[in-house]
């Protein structure tokens, strides 16, 4: 091969390779792989998300979306470790308790402008009450895709067996309050079963007790989050009530005891409506009811749990991720999401819409528990630096879960410890 031939071949080869290389580069730039971390591994949830993602991909062929299921117990820890390791997801579910951390840190991309610009999005339909937790200075940082009220599931078989009136009967008589509710629980416990279970509390997740103490008008800290109110009278009264129910009347199972309402072992449980799927069918089925939380000394109330979806500002493709989020939460897809996650859109908050996708619940149950709950509910307590506050309060409250605890002294020590963290 002489010099000229060599030169020619090289040029020909270059002519082939160079455009290919540029084309490859162009493809690489256009292809976007979005990753969303979630804490559900439920197949039905994943099938729905994948369906929404496929519809988005049909419009945007260069975008793929994968849903990364992380275990719930260590969800936030895993998420922050991914961020620390320089591998943040593009989108993530965020728990209400850690909302303040994420919203105020600057980690999330602003959404309002993109949502407002998305065709047919109807941002005004999303209630302000639902977005309050996820907003800062008028900007929205996460979409509240799930707003789930706490309610009571009751086992009417065990309750009538213990000679008690059912919650529905008490509601009809206008006597559905905590005194009567805890009396039912105590009577069922006396009959050899268990009374009332605050699901997932387990003497660790104390914020779930908000579903009781809000009835006394109690809250862990002031509305601005600056002052500890654990030692205030409403909380002392509410915690005394709970302590009494555990250690005096036995209406609530004690620490270190595992009882499952859905196995038919207990009279009542406080949890969110999505747990209806755990109700046993067939031979193990029992006569159950879903009722709102009883009225407390401070009157009627509702408590809700929320979950949001945010876009990481430091992710590889925040614009595409925001666009996908706008698609995922548009009116049409919100209707799909409402199958599993109570929606934040006012137009979807009707017993009719919710009934289509919650066949286990009656229109009355949906109206009294879900719609009233979402409309009037207070979100579970959250705060900036919540993980540390949660752990500190948990450690202090352990002293409360003994039979001879001094409720006032323990709550005072809680405030003493978390004062500097608020």
């Amino acid at each position: 091969m002489n010099h000229l031939t060599r030169l020619k071949s090289a040029t020909a080869l270059a002519a082939l390779i160079v455009p290919l290389a540029f084309a490859g580069n162009a493809w690489a730039q256009d292809t976007v792989n979005l990753r969303m971390t979630i804490w559900s591994a439920n197949e039905a949830h994943l099938a729905m998300f994948n369906e929404i993602a496929a519809a988005y991909q049909a419009e945007n062929p260069n975008v793929t979306v994968t849903f990364d299921s992380l275990p719930f117990d260590t969800y936030t820890t895993t998420l922050t470790t991914q961020i620390a390791g320089g591998n943040p997801p593009d989108l993530a579910w965020i728990l209400e308790t850690t909302a303040a951390d994420f919203v105020n840190s600057g980690a999330l991309a602003p959404l309002r402008e993109s949502f407002a610009a998305a065709e047919g999005y109807e941002l005004d339909d999303v209630t302000e009450q639902a977005t309050a937790l996820w907003s800062s200075d008028g900007e929205l940082y996460a979409y509240p895709f799930s707003t789930s009220p706490f309610a009571i599931f009751a086992n009417n078989d065990l309750i009538t067996e213990a000679g008690q009136q059912t919650p529905a009967e008490l509601i009809a008589a206008g006597e559905w309050n905590w005194d009567n509710a805890i009396a039912i629980a105590a009577a069922v416990a006396d009959a050899g079963h268990d009374g009332l279970i605050v699901r997932d509390f387990n003497y660790q997740i104390w914020q779930n007790l908000a579903s009781i103490w809000r009835g006394w008008g109690a809250s862990p800290w002031s509305e601005d989050g600056d002052t500890c109110t654990f030692a205030d009278q409403p909380m002392v009264d509410a915690m005394s009530f709970i302590h009494n129910a555990i250690f005096e009347t036995g209406a609530m199972p004690g620490p270190g005891e595992s009882v499952d309402f859905f196995a038919g072992d207990a009279a009542m449980t406080i949890t969110q409506i999505s747990r209806a799927s755990l109700l046993p069918q067939g031979d193990d089925a029992f006569d159950w009811d879903l009722v709102p939380l009883p009225a407390g000394p401070a009157g009627e109330y509702a408590v809700i749990g929320q979950a949001g979806i945010g876009v990481f500002a430091n992710g590889a493709n925040p614009e595409v991720a925001t666009d996908f989020l706008a698609f995922m939460t548009n009116p049409e897809n919100s209707r799909k999401l409402a199958q599993f996650f109570p929606p934040a859109r006012a137009s979807l908050l009707t017993a009719e819409t919710l009934g289509l996708t919650n066949p286990l619940l009656s229109p009355e149950q949906l109206e009294s528990v879900v719609i009233a709950g979402i409309t009037n509910g207070v979100v579970l307590p959250g705060h900036e630096g919540f993980a540390q506050i949660q752990q500190t309060v948990r450690a202090e409250l352990d002293a409360l879960w003994t039979p001879d605890a001094d409720v006032e002294a323990v709550l005072a020590s809680v405030c003493d410890r978390i004062g500097s963290l608020l």
């Binding site: 820890t77 922050t80 470790t81 961020i83 620390a84 951390d101 994420f102 840190s105 600057g106 980690a107 003497y203 660790q204 004690g254 620490p255 270190g256 005891e257 595992s258 430091n314 630096g385 993980a387 540390q388 752990q391 948990r394 450690a395 202090e396 352990d398 002293a399 879960w401 003994t402």
Partner: protein, 310 residues
């Protein structure tokens, strides 16, 4: 130096090839240890350096800020209200674990150092928890230790009301220690058994002729001769006890209160739950110093305790 000497040295240098025998040997040696050295550099030395670097910073993961704050995290060690109790819990756990584990392992080893039919079955039985997955082992124990769990059920059957094991600070600490001892006692037992079988039989015969009691034989012959193993197992056990994590995470999550929050669990909380990676790194430096000092001290003590070393 004279000029003739210099020129001789130069000639000498010219004559000698670069790859002398010593250099070849040295290069081969370095090549042999290179994989291990690379591993240690990558997975121990560099992370150690980085942890020290992080400990001088305030690292807010969510806000992506990484700010140099000098020794502030180290000053915080002195003002941290929980740290003295955490170190106390760590000391109690380690001391309890080492004493119980070593004495039980030695007792089992002595008992199993017999020539009896079927003795291998017992040896296997006591060793088997070592090969069980740590988390699975701990989860099973967490069910047994619940207030309405298996252990209290058995106690109730004989008319005893058991305590709420994991909800009382004292019984919770005892529980985590015992669960850990049962898990790992087999390993030390096997090491002791091997050491016991290395003690020459004729020494015992001579002692018996001299009229030494079995206890005296143990004290004067067995213990001194297995002392290198005692040192080794004590170092392994103490270092291991300072690294306990899964048992605490599964059984007590550091509670009740912070009574079972040992140093490793505390640093995990600070770094990964509270996102205080800077302070978490400072705590791991503290742990590193504690382990280093303890190991050094034990190594020094070998002169006094260890009877002989090969």
């Amino acid at each position: 130096m004279t000029s003739s000497a210099t020129s001789m040295a130069v000639r000498e240098k010219r004559k000698r090839p670069f790859w002398t025998m010593e250099r070849r040997d040295a290069a081969a040696g370095y090549l042999f240890i290179a994989p291990q050295l690379a591993g240690i550099t990558l997975f121990v030395l560099i992370p150690l350096g980085l942890v020290f670097w992080y400990s001088l910073h305030e690292w807010n993961v969510l806000a992506s800020t990484f700010r140099f704050i000098g020794t502030e995290n180290y000053e915080r060690l002195l003002t941290d209200r929980d740290l003295p109790r955490v170190l106390g819990a760590t000391a109690i756990f380690s001391a309890g674990l080492v004493v119980l584990n070593m004495s039980l392992a030695l007792l089992l080893a002595v008992l199993l150092n017999q020539k009896l039919a079927g003795i291998t079955i017992f040896r296997t039985l006591f060793f088997s928890p070592v090969v069980v997955s740590l988390v699975a082992w701990t989860i099973v124990w967490s069910f047994l230790l619940q207030n309405n769990g298996g252990i209290n059920g058995m106690l109730a059957a004989i008319g005893v009301e058991g305590p709420n094991w994991l909800r009382n600070p004292t019984t919770a600490m005892i529980s985590v220690i015992v669960v850990q001892v049962f898990k790992n006692v087999g390993l030390n037992m096997i090491l002791f058994l091997a050491a016991l079988q290395g003690v020459p039989r004729e020494l015992y015969e001579a002692a018996r002729v001299d009229g030494a009691s079995p206890f005296k034989q143990f004290r004067r012959i067995t213990l001194p001769l297995i002392s290198p193993t005692v040192l080794l197992t004590s170092i392994i056990t103490i270092v291991g006890s300072l690294q306990v994590f899964a048992q605490i995470a599964v059984l007590t999550q550091g509670g009740p209160g912070i009574s079972t929050t040992v140093l490793v669990y505390y640093l995990y909380q600070q770094a990964f739950q509270f996102h205080l990676f800077g302070y978490g790194s400072t705590l791991s430096i503290l742990l590193f110093v504690i382990v280093a000092v303890l190991t050094f001290a034990q190594w020094q003590m070998r002169r006094k305790i260890v009877f002989y070393e090969n």
